[in-house]
């Protein structure tokens, strides 16, 4: 093990890790938004849009991100839609994550007794207010384990982004293996940096889940 080599390479991996975190963070926030919108459409049973959401969820959940990225990055430009690799990574991650988040929100909303919604309506709230102020806050506690699992899942999924020429951790490691043959060093760095990103998030997620587990809303 060449520790000098490892020390010299740390900044390179640090930069790549920042890119992974940045793409991941933007993708996750957008996924949450897409998920919320999809869940709201399904909650209100808006015709047509609801079927579209259902189709999107099935398409996105039943295909690998790698294949989605190949289509977005190499296929779509043939129709004139050209994206930079960073934009493509974010779009791909959001396409994948949106459906996972939508499912997490949907199933937790379904778990809340509909009497809550009806009571809110009878108090004169609009349907939107009832969803936003009564249903969602309660369902959030139930959805938390699924949401945090999705966050970790999506961060892990960013590891395939090197195929669309995004210089992420895997990309840097692969380049070092190819250029210097310091395979073990590169892989130790790769594993360490993923641990550095994912371990705190995983521990934080567990803490958050414990905090909301006993959340009860006037039951």
């Amino acid at each position: 093990m060449d520790f000098g080599f490892i020390r010299e390479s740390i900044p390179l991996y640090g930069e790549a890790a920042l890119l992974t975190v940045r793409i991941g963070a933007v993708g996750i926030v957008l996924s949450l938004l897409v998920g919320l919108v999809c869940a709201a459409i399904q909650f209100f049973r808006i015709p047509l849009l609801r079927q579209l959401v259902a189709a999107y969820v099935e398409l996105s959940r039943n295909t690998p991100l790698l294949v989605q990225l190949f289509f977005l990055y190499f296929g779509l430009p043939k129709t004139g839609v050209v994206m930079s690799s960073e934009l493509c990574a974010i779009v791909g991650l959001t396409f994948l994550g949106g459906s996972y988040m939508a499912e997490a929100f949907r199933s937790s909303l379904e778990a809340i007794d509909s009497i809550q919604f009806q009571s809110a309506l009878s108090l004169g709230m609009t349907r939107g207010q009832a969803l936003g102020h009564v249903m969602l806050p309660q369902s959030l506690a139930l959805a938390m384990p699924a949401l945090t699992a999705n966050v970790i899942f999506l961060l892990k999924e960013t590891s395939v982004m090197s195929v669309i020429a995004l210089p992420d951790l895997v990309y840097v490691a692969k380049e070092q293996i190819g250029n210097t043959y310091n395979t073990s060093e590169a892989l130790v760095l790769l594993v360490s940096f993923y641990l550095l990103i994912l371990l705190p998030i995983s521990l934080g997620a567990r803490y958050l889940e414990r905090r909301v587990r006993y959340a009860n809303f006037g039951d």
């Binding site: 690998p64 043939k78 590891s159 594993v191 993923y194």
Partner: protein, 226 residues
């Protein structure tokens, strides 16, 4: 003649080559699932077992596998095993090893969850009826755990198939690589082929995984314990 590229999909042996490519990754997925079910059941039993050391070790194993992207695990085995241990695995064998390690962890957790979700009164009632421990496991725990486990295992299979698409990155020629070859070989005759060929790969994956996950959902509904 300018063409869109969709007919390239059915030209010559292109479509059957894509299907063969699909079979390569599905084969890896099924083989890994088979090993994972056997090893994962063992792991799940250890995780529920009495041994503290066993529980702790299996926990560490699960957490490490869970926190690492499968691609990183693939790199570790494919690149590093050769260098450190001098074991030179082909891409496909390395993939089966990695996805078995990954699947065993996931399967172990499913087995653990299915067993521990059986409420305590089931055990108490069985004992009150005078069943021996063996009878209790055979007639009370096993049937209920299996009913919970089977839909989850089918679902894990779709995740496995989706994850095995990563083998394209360690040089295994599967459906995505075949697609790339077809597109590259026809770069000049069919400049627009990438859209259709990658689109086709997307839908082929969708059909395979959709059928399996629909089956899993049906099982889940059918066997839902009231």
């Amino acid at each position: 003649m300018p063409t869109s590229g969709i007919e390239l999909l059915f030209e010559g042996r292109n479509f059957s080559r894509l299907m063969l490519g699909l079979w390569v990754s599905v084969r890896i997925a099924l083989l890994s699932m088979l090993f994972s079910i056997v090893l994962g059941t063992g792991l799940g039993l250890v995780m529920n077992g009495r041994s503290r050391v066993g529980r702790a070790l299996s926990r560490v194993y699960l957490e490490f596998i869970r926190i690492m992207p499968p691609l990183v695990l693939l790199f570790l085995v494919y690149f590093d095993l050769t260098k450190v241990a001098g074991i030179n695995l082909s891409g496909e064998v390395a993939a089966v090893v990695v996805f078995t390690l990954w699947g065993t962890a996931e399967m172990g957790d499913l087995v653990r969850g299915s067993i521990s979700s059986i409420p305590a009164h089931q055990y108490d009632s069985a004992r009150a009826l005078g069943m021996t421990e063996l009878e209790l496991q055979r007639h009370v725990v096993l049937p209920q755990a299996v009913r919970r486990l089977v839909p989850l295992t089918v679902n894990l299979t779709t995740r496995m198939i989706k994850t095995t698409s990563l083998v394209a990155l360690i040089g295994v020629v599967e459906i995505l690589k075949v697609a790339q070859q077809i597109i590259d070989a026809n770069r000049f005759e069919y400049p627009g082929a990438a859209l259709w060929i990658y689109g086709a790969v997307f839908f082929i994956y969708f059909i395979v995984c959709f059928v399996i996950s629909a089956f899993s959902r049906r099982l889940e509904r059918k066997w839902a314990l009231s």
